[in-house]
Symmetry: C2
Subunit: 351 residues, 2 copies
């Protein structure tokens, strides 16, 4: 079988961590034997914008839709292009037009990272984030000027999107440790969050065996710091999921290791795999970008396309590399991107 993957290195360190991850995917294909990856690279991002006045060509989204999956590095570099252009023009555009309605992000303790937590314990949870609407809405505007200026921002919550997100989370919890926590703020945000809570209660009835709880986003954010090992699956809106997964990345020891899958539920369009970190312009060219977030995203892609054994192989090689002390400076190590990847490669081949 040939897997046809669209690759968008994007900006900054995306161009450093994507190629090395493709190499590892090829190694895994060889190990497996029966599969090959066909990578089609698209040079879209801020440089492309500076040259062409758009983040991707007019038929770019259609081109992407011809591929099986999308493997993306990082998008955005405020020094070159304002974020609202680069992100809405490429990253958020792909998420929406390819109907990647779920954003799935694991938060897992890896032995050997220097976590900012005193007792990182063995936390291991998944955040399921609504990825298509909510607080990220283009409905709203500003009126009046001078001292009377006022801006209204709409957050849009449809039953359809909320329901499928919560259902995805509950199904995932059934396959894991039977516990789902819903992020809310119904004590302060009085329309959207009670609506979210209502659907969480309804959908929850279809999952009688699950332990279900709601936590306000403020308290929940604090709990990720004080008792992260008490969670299994957390489900939240677009904004809440965004905040929780960055806190998740922080307690994991570095945003450089956190991965994400943007999932198209019906498989009609490609899903997209990308690390949580950005393009990190400050460390570009230094050879010290942490490749783990990108590699872990490749691991999520392998799971998604049906190779859980390869995914596990990659994860173990990656995690044991970190545990053995071979890691980039952001994790408290002093290895380069290349040295980390070489070690992972070695461990894959040794297996």
């Amino acid at each position: 079988v040939t897997h046809d993957i669209a690759v968008i290195p994007g900006d900054g360190i995306g161009k450093e961590v994507v190629p090395v991850s493709l190499d590892l995917l090829n190694v895994l294909a060889d190990i497996h034997g029966g599969i090959t990856f066909q990578f089609t690279e698209f040079p879209w991002g801020c440089d492309y914008y500076l040259a062409h006045g758009e983040m991707l060509p007019k038929d770019g989204i259609n081109e992407l839709k011809q591929h099986e999956q999308i493997f993306l590095g990082a998008v955005g570099d405020q020094n070159l292009v304002p974020d609202h252009i680069s992100l809405w023009g490429l990253l958020i555009k792909i998420r929406r037009e390819c109907q990647q309605v779920i954003n799935l992000r694991p938060v897992k303790y890896i032995e050997g990272v220097s976590s900012p937590l005193a007792n990182p314990n063995d936390f291991d949870f998944m955040v399921v984030r609504e990825n298509s609407e909510g607080e990220y809405s283009e409905i709203g505007g500003t009126m009046h000027s001078g001292p009377d200026e006022i801006t209204i921002q709409n957050a849009v919550f449809t039953r359809k999107a909320v329901e499928r997100t919560i259902r995805f989370a509950c199904t995932l919890a059934e396959e894991r440790n039977q516990k789902v926590t819903s992020a809310t703020k119904s004590n302060g945000i009085v329309y959207s969050m009670p609506f979210w809570d209502k659907i969480f209660a309804e959908v929850g009835e279809d999952y009688p065996k699950l332990e279900k709880q709601s936590q306000h986003i403020d308290a929940l954010s604090a709990f990720l710091v004080t008792k992260p090992s008490s969670f299994d699956v957390i489900v939240g809106s677009n904004l809440f999921g965004d905040i929780l997964t960055d806190i998740g990345a922080a307690i994991m020891g570095s945003i450089g290791i956190a991965p994400a899958a943007n999932i198209n539920l019906e498989g009609k369009y490609p899903s997209m795999f990308e690390p949580v970190h950005g393009s990190a312009p400050d460390i570009v060219g230094k050879g010290i970008a942490n490749p783990i977030g990108q590699i872990w995203s490749a691991k999520m892609m392998l799971d998604h396309i049906g190779y859980p054994e390869l995914a596990t192989l990659l994860f173990n090689a990656m995690a044991s590399t970190i545990t053995s002390g071979i890691k980039t400076p952001d994790l408290g190590g002093n290895q380069t991107t290349e040295e980390v990847v070489d070690e992972i490669n070695k461990r894959l081949l040794a297996d």
Copy 2:
């Protein structure tokens, strides 16, 4: 001088930590010599609601407005009354009707607490939270039913409110360490947050000496965990300030110690001082409620009404009590509320 303070113990442990804090305030008045406190207690809260069908009487807000300041414990107990009734009926009602437009919350490392952070360092920053509008808005609603059901939630940002909040933060930073960080999410929330950013830039021009930066709420939440000592003053919207201060409470070691001031800027109506924690129904009656959040709120009230020396006296007695190991279970100690207060009292009298 007599200071006329309205006291609302409220619900749960509010009734345990408020009285002991009033005792300490009386001790401080004696130490000072020239002042007395006159406390007028209002029995409003969930019990009141169960007896009278309302969280406070019709003229309750007017009664409060006759007093100089408000000292509040905790409001809300989901087991008795739904949060949207108890909180919007009392806590948020007071904040809004008394025009307490700024919520000010210190986040400060105290030696001797068991912080969840491996290296808590010496963080010490203030969060200035917009307290009157933003994401906490009663504009919005639901339409259609069944699978088409949709809810729109409006967030309302007025120049007036955003500007005074940011100005307050900048002025505070001038008195402190010259650095202000604005919480944004303009890369995802495309109307309200660019509006916020624009006003931050404009107001910032009036404070040329300050170091000014913006951080997206997701990254900023993570930074409170990974590098809290890099902040001086953080300013954010109602929701963002809410989330950041709970993370702040978490890194301080316990939500039980975090205080807040809800400030009426013109002094036309009373300001309100309340801990960040809730009513904690699970530990009511056990005598182990942490009184520090409430006592630190009293300290903020002393600062506000013009007794910085008394405020410092109280803070030092309180902090040194914790550092000496006399603390409640949530901080890793095994003392009772009363034992902690007795020790603080002793230290005040010894000074």
